[in-house]
Amino acid sequence: MTHPPDTGPAPVLALKGVSKSFGAVRALRDVSLELLPGEVHALAGENGAGKSTLIKTLAGVHRPDAGQVLLDGEPVVFHGPGDARDAGIAVIYQEPTLFPDLSIAENIFMGRQPRRALGRIDHKATRAATAALMRRLGVGLDPDRPARGLSIADQQIVEIAKALSFDARVLIMDEPTAALTGSEVARLFGVVRTLREQGTAVLFISHRLEEIFRICQKVTTLRDGTRIASETLDKMTEDDLVRRMVGRELAELYPERRAQTGDVALGVRRLTREGVFTDVSFEVRRGEIVGLAGLVGAGRTEVARAVFGIDRWDAGEVEVAGRRLPKGAPSAAMAAGLALVPEDRRAQGLVMDLSIERNIGLTGLRTTARAGLMDRGAERSRSLDWAVRLQVKYARIADAVSTLSGGNQQKVVLAKWLATGPKVLIVDEPTRGIDVGTKAEVHRLLAELAADGVAVLMISSDLPEILGMADRVLVMHEGRISAEIPRADATEESVLAAATGRAAA
């Protein structure tokens, strides 16, 4: 094959006419895609559009039913992720896949640690290489720390470090930024730009459209497994992109709302968990949405976990609707009307092997039972009702949640907790991995709940989301509440200043 001189560089990696089905679900239909060296290519589409499936096909996880994968223009067959890696393709999957009992360094260099004489693993070199990667990403994670207990954001950073640790010709990233805040995203993009200048081909997925415009040159949109367009981004607007993805105009991302606040529904006073957070006090009133902002590691998730009873606290108290909660008892918190949508949907939010129906049913075991026995009809209609209200995209309600796309899994977690009819709803990254259309949907839902008198505490790393939704913003910095900012004064600058501890507002 000879190219005329003006066609530019040849694609490193390409898909030609690829189709892939799972049973009756056609995840990809006749999709083609070309990745060029020195170019960052975005893949956009709604939840379940087939983005992750496309990536797994490139990475050798799935074998296409029809069509080809081309490496340097030649058809290849990857028999597994190992083959793809040997071909110079590094992949960051949507859900972190770390070994919990291994250290961060061991996870990153799994199976290819630097060696010393006699084939012994050189721990010192492994650690040093890991520390160097962490510096490049601008995070202070200890290489010796075990992966167990890392927050989702930190896990994602370790996955990124892993992908960067071998000099890949192609870097594929499935929603790497979903749990990251602004500064970590900026660092990651800095690294990506350097790689691009060195000629790496990058494929990038994100539901945050502004990120696509910031870092990518080209975009391919998928809808229901079909490619809608592949085009350069410089002449497009966000609205154009959204129209390609959803095939229609979208409503506003943040609903108009006027808060009617009532009594205090959630009261947290001087809550302390030693070494994690200190003296945290705040209130959330009925009908109010309070945003909890802060950098990754500031202790937001940890406060939510303690309030709900997952972890014990050392001092302080928590009241729901005037009732003191015992520490370390999620069942008591639930009985008092508290619900927590946790950040880690795969480990904490869902039982992956159970069906959609059973997962939603899990929070209603006692309430749907009759005379102490399960009422399967009631369980099913409760689950169906909420799956439909949240527009979960599934084949059958009895399918395992593990077969759903990431965004749809998130909707099942929301469904499971909204079905309890909570008085106080704590949501930790409620729209992580959710597409723009559904994001607007979730925001509308949260606004409706608040209008019905539910008190909502929203933790989010997506600052525009906090600013768009919250009546009041609490900011955490190093385990303490560093500022409380009313809606009128909340801006990116004021929140960031408090989050980084620069200014006392």
Binding site: S331, A333, A347, D353, L354, R366, K416
Partner: protein, 322 residues
């Protein structure tokens, strides 16, 4: 899809093999089909079946108890010792059951409070409980229990070959089936076994639930110890030695996933009677006791491997048909 498919494969294989073994035995093994032998078969299988009930619940929730046979032995030994000491049997039996509760509670506390793996904890108590049994009864064999009780444990219903003790077992089986498959409690066991952290985040009291299961297992093991001593009219410290192997093999054979979260009680009980029939046939054919243990061990390995292989096949099939 793969999940239900593998379950179907497992269930069909177990019940199918059970039928084939039974039919072949009726045809080819001398004496298998006669009423007396069938009554022996059921009577000898009942101890496995009794303990298999709580064991199934325990394995579904992701834990295991290997001390069950030692608890049964200890309960029998205490029963013999107290009988020799002259206590009435009506007092002794409740005390034995209480002892079973204590044994289960100890296992459960070690697992749930200290966070130790149940496999390790119960291997330890397997040795410990048996040791205590030997201290309690020494090498004595107590055989002179009241005839009324011996009759109940070894006798048959009317003129049939059906052991009397089958009736209370069926009642317990019905209760266990309802608990595991029709109550919120049972539903939460599957959730704990398949995703303990998510279950805890959904407000399920994981530790309390597990503690309860260990206690129930201890109780049923002690009951089995009492039944064993009466059924064979002999209380010795080494009663029911090695029974845990049969119970675990039967439960896993019946399609209960060793990793938790999967299985049905119907399957487990089919596994129990399949194993019981095999052991019975081997005895009729004069297979030595040692060889029988080897066969049970092989079955145990196969039943752990089986579901994995079946799942692999189902996945491959789904991929090629997809």
């Amino acid at each position: 899809m793969p999940e239900s498919l593998t379950r179907a494969i497992r269930w069909d294989t177990v019940v199918g093999t059970l039928l084939i073994v039974l039919l072949l035995s009726f045809g080819f093994v001398d004496g298998f089909g006669n009423a007396l032998n069938l009554s022996f078969l059921i009577g000898n299988t009942l101890p496995i079946a009794l303990i298999a009930l709580p064991m199934t619940l325990l394995v579904v929730s992701g834990e295991i108890d290997l001390s069950v046979a030692s608890t049964a032995g200890l309960s029998g030994a205490v029963m013999g010792r107290l009988w020799n000491a002259g206590l009435p049997i009506e007092t002794i039996i409740p005390l034995c059951l209480l002892l079973g509760v204590v044994c289960g509670l100890l296992n459960g506390l070690l697992v749930t409070r200290l966070g130790l793996p149940s496999l390790a904890v119960t291997i330890g108590t397997l040795a410990a409980y048996r040791g205590v049994a030997q201290i309690v009864l020494g090498s004595d064999a107590v055989t002179d229990f009241p005839p009324r009780y011996l009759d109940f444990a070894a006798g048959r219903l009317g003129g049939t070959f059906v052991p009397r003790a089958l009736v209370p077992f069926l009642v317990l089986l019905a209760i266990a089936v309802v608990v595991l498959h029709a109550t919120p409690f049972g539903r939460s066991l599957f959730a704990i076994g398949a995703g303990e952290e998510a279950a805890w985040f959904a407000g399920i009291r994981v530790r309390r639930t597990k503690l309860l299961l260990f206690v129930a297992t201890g109780l049923m093991s002690a009951l089995t110890g009492v039944f064993w001593a009466l059924h064979y009219a002999s209380a010795r410290y080494d009663n029911a030695t090695g029974l845990e192997l049969s119970v675990v093999a039967a439960v896993l054979l019946g399609g209960i996933d060793f990793d938790g979260g999967r299985g049905t009680l119907g399957g487990a009980i089919a596994g129990v009677f399949l194993l019981g029939a095999l052991q019975n046939v081997m005895s009729l054919e004069d297979v030595s006791a040692q060889s029988q243990i080897v066969v049970t061990g092989v079955l145990l390995v196969l039943s752990v491997l089986g579901p994995r292989v079946a799942r692999q096949i189902a996945v491959l099939r789904a991929q090629s048909s997809g």
